[in-house]
């Protein structure tokens, strides 16, 4: 696959087109075919969470949130490919992959509601926290890959960033080190066309992001990121290759950020409605649905029930978060070091004295 889709050949790997038609039968494996229903379910769950999150934010019940809308296939595919021993190194827009690693709805909503406790993802294993400084996490992925190799442990690392992230020095350093050290890392770039308002054409003069792999001496491939089947199959192949050959791979998933950068952003300022409409036809959920419905493997009425059930799950989790106890003062201090040092205890005590005084005043 990686020879055939060598980025220098400027080909994009796609299996199912936006009309839901299988366009690449010879390369479509049974394994990939077998995960499509589960993949669609996961995308639907991710979308339900995402749409609800945006609406909770709009209602003033949650803080700033970065929507995943339109990009669900990539994270769902990674989630289906990752094994327990594999590591996930997220950016912040791949919630389907977090859930696959065990992150719960409650944890995610706690995090986006402003509790660090949620962002710890205690229910997930082999998962790094959300990384806001763009592309900085990719170096951690290379380090984790080194540790797996050093300890001769099975597994691979899935590291995420966006197209904007590929402009940061850390992106290049991470791929360069990974290439030199030959570590099992799958770098997934979600090329959704925009870094906030900045189109990818202003990020790089290169023909693609996948082609950058050539300069680091590693494999790379460009994939239709709205095609669950293509995402899954390329990531699965990449994962097994990375683990077996102990080599990194760069996968560029071509997608579109159908929503805003975050709930603070207004895409109407920098892109056209026509462009957004065009991409709606590429929706990753719609195309797998079409494919499965045509094959009589999916029922839209069942889907309705499923989504309703997902909605209820989300509401229950969010209610738990909304009734969470207040943030205790000690939580500001207790995780800075293994033990709270004396000077921090003094600062905490000073605040407590003020709080008691204030209470006495009222």
């Amino acid at each position: 696959m990686f020879d055939k889709y060598n980025p220098l050949k400027k080909k994009q790997f796609r299996l199912i087109n936006p009309q839901g038609t299988l366009v690449n039968k010879p390369e479509f494996t049974k394994d990939t075919d077998s995960i499509l229903e589960e993949g669609l379910k996961r995308m639907l769950l991710a979308r339900t969470v995402d749409l609800k999150a945006v609406s909770f934010q709009r209602q003033g019940r949650m803080y700033t949130y970065p929507p995943n809308l339109g990009q669900e296939a990539i994270a769902a595919a990674a989630g289906l490919v990752m094994r327990d021993e594999d590591w996930l190194v997220p950016a912040y827009r791949e919630l389907g992959a977090w859930m696959a690693k065990g992150a719960t709805l409650k944890e995610m909503f706690l995090y986006w509601s402003g509790f660090e406790e949620g962002g710890a993802f205690n229910n997930a294993s082999n998962m790094m926290p959300v990384s806001v400084p763009i592309a900085s996490q990719l170096l951690h992925a290379t380090g984790i890959g080194f540790a797996l190799k050093y300890k001769k442990e099975p597994g691979a690392v899935f590291a995420f960033c966006g197209d904007g992230g590929t402009s940061e020095g850390d992106f290049h350093e991470a791929l360069n080190f990974a290439g030199v050290w030959k570590v099992p890392v799958v770098f997934v770039v979600q090329n959704n066309g925009y870094a906030i308002s900045c189109p990818v054409s202003r990020q790089t003069a290169a023909e693609s992001i996948a082609i950058k792999s050539v300069a680091y001496g590693i494999r790379g491939i460009q994939v239709d990121g709205n095609d669950l089947a293509a995402c899954y199959q390329s990531m699965k192949t990449a994962r097994d290759f990375a683990e077996k050959e102990q080599e990194p791979i760069l996968i560029e998933c071509m997608t579109y950020r159908a929503g805003a950068h975050t709930t603070s952003d207004d895409p109407g300022r920098y892109r056209s409605k026509e462009e957004e409409e065009k991409w709606k036809k590429e929706d990753p959920i719609a195309r797998i649905r079409k494919f499965l419905v045509r094959a009589e493997r999916w029922s839209e009425s069942e889907e309705e029930k499923l989504v309703e059930q997902f909605g209820k799950q989300v509401d229950v989790a969010f209610q738990e978060v909304e009734s969470a106890p207040p943030y205790p003062l000690e939580d500001v201090f207790r995780y800075q070091f293994s033990e709270i040092p004396e000077n921090l205890r003094r600062e905490m005590a000073a605040y407590q004295r003020f709080a008691s005084w204030k209470e006495a005043q009222a």
């Binding site: 020095g169 850390d170 870094a195 906030i196 003062l329 921090l344 600062e347 605040y351 005084w357």
Partner: protein
């Protein structure tokens, strides 16, 4: 005169300088088409073209580093870091080059770039969006560090920063970007980069602060007034260099000083202010100078933010402690 908030005042300063200085270019992440995530550069690309006001690729180190190159080659770059928490990849360029080019070349070359960035908490933001890093910049030899607290000061100080022969880190208190409105001249005016401002005169105690904390200190001073305490508030405006004269004169008069900062206490700006007050007015002190700084912790996420951000009652409480000493 026109009523402006901080965003409009900063925009006005940028507009005036772009208009009168053809060597000025303005760039950063989303500063062009979008007009910045806080809309500070709104309308400037339309007015001055993509050649002078543009979006850079997403790379803070490159933004600062290319600005050095432009500056030594005769341009006047004004760059934006989207949030002060995102400036960290650029620190190598800022500390190793922006701050040092003049000294390294014995004045032959200068890198008088202006690096703007919104800073500070109180806006219920995600991690890395609420940092106050002014003490880190002030600690670096070779950088001027400026923080306005009003629209008027923001405009006058920014024009001075852009015209300065020195590199200036211009930090904008985003919490009050739109919270304070004031009459500001529409035309060009400047404010010297190294002078503090007496916000309100008082007799009993000097409170020194800057940026978004000024407004909180004014509220605390109003509480104090009700309790018969007359507070003099000094707005530092320049974090480096610090205006020792204004501080010394005030503390000699009041005999008590409270330094208020949002950023962490240890090795912070408040520590510097307490030192200066002690050096300048030791024999006049009626109580040990006091700091109210941020905890020495990582800025909490929104649900813990209330503990971290100083409320007026906390500032008043500290004033009280000093008065009761």
């Amino acid at each position: 005169m026109k009523v402006m908030n901080l965003v409009q005042a900063i925009n006005s300063a940028l507009d005036i300088k772009l208009n009168e200085d053809p060597s000025m270019v303005l760039y950063g992440e989303d500063t062009g088409v979008e007009g910045g995530v806080f809309r500070v550069t709104e309308g400037l690309q339309e007015k001055y073209g993509e050649g002078r006001v543009f979006d850079s690729p997403l790379a803070e180190s490159a933004i600062a580093g290319t600005a050095v190159g432009m500056a030594v080659a005769g341009l006047n770059p004004v760059v934006e870091m989207q949030f002060s928490g995102f400036v960290l990849p650029a620190m190598n360029q800022i500390i190793s080059h922006v701050a040092r080019i003049r000294n390294r070349t014995r004045g032959k070359l200068t890198s008088a770039v202006t690096i703007r960035m919104p800073y500070g908490g109180g806006i219920r933001a995600l991690e890395h969006h609420s940092e106050s890093l002014e003490a880190i910049f002030a600690h670096v030899p070779g950088l001027r560090v400026v923080i306005p607290s009003t629209p008027y000061d923001a405009k006058g100080l920014l024009i001075s920063a852009i015209e300065s022969e020195d590199p200036v880190i211009f930090m904008e208190p985003k919490r009050i970007y739109r919270a304070i409105k004031q009459e500001v001249p529409e035309e060009r005016f400047t404010i010297p980069l190294d002078t503090a401002r007496v916000v309100q005169p008082g007799e009993d105690i000097t409170v020194i602060a800057y940026g978004a904390m000024i407004r909180e200190c004014q509220k605390a001073a109003a509480l104090a007034k009700k309790n018969g305490i007359s507070v003099e508030i000094i707005d530092l405006r320049s974090i480096f260099p610090i205006d020792r004269g204004t501080i010394g004169a005030s503390v000699k008069k009041t005999g008590r000083v409270l330094a208020v900062t949002e950023s962490a206490a240890t090795c912070g700006v408040a520590s510097e202010l307490v030192t200066i007050a002690t050096e300048e007015a030791f024999l006049n002190l009626e109580a040990p100078p006091r700091r109210l700084a941020g905890f020495d912790t990582i800025m909490p996420l929104p649900k813990g933010e209330n503990y971290y951000m100083h409320e007026p009652a906390r500032i008043f409480y500290e004033i009280r402690q000093l008065m009761d000493y």
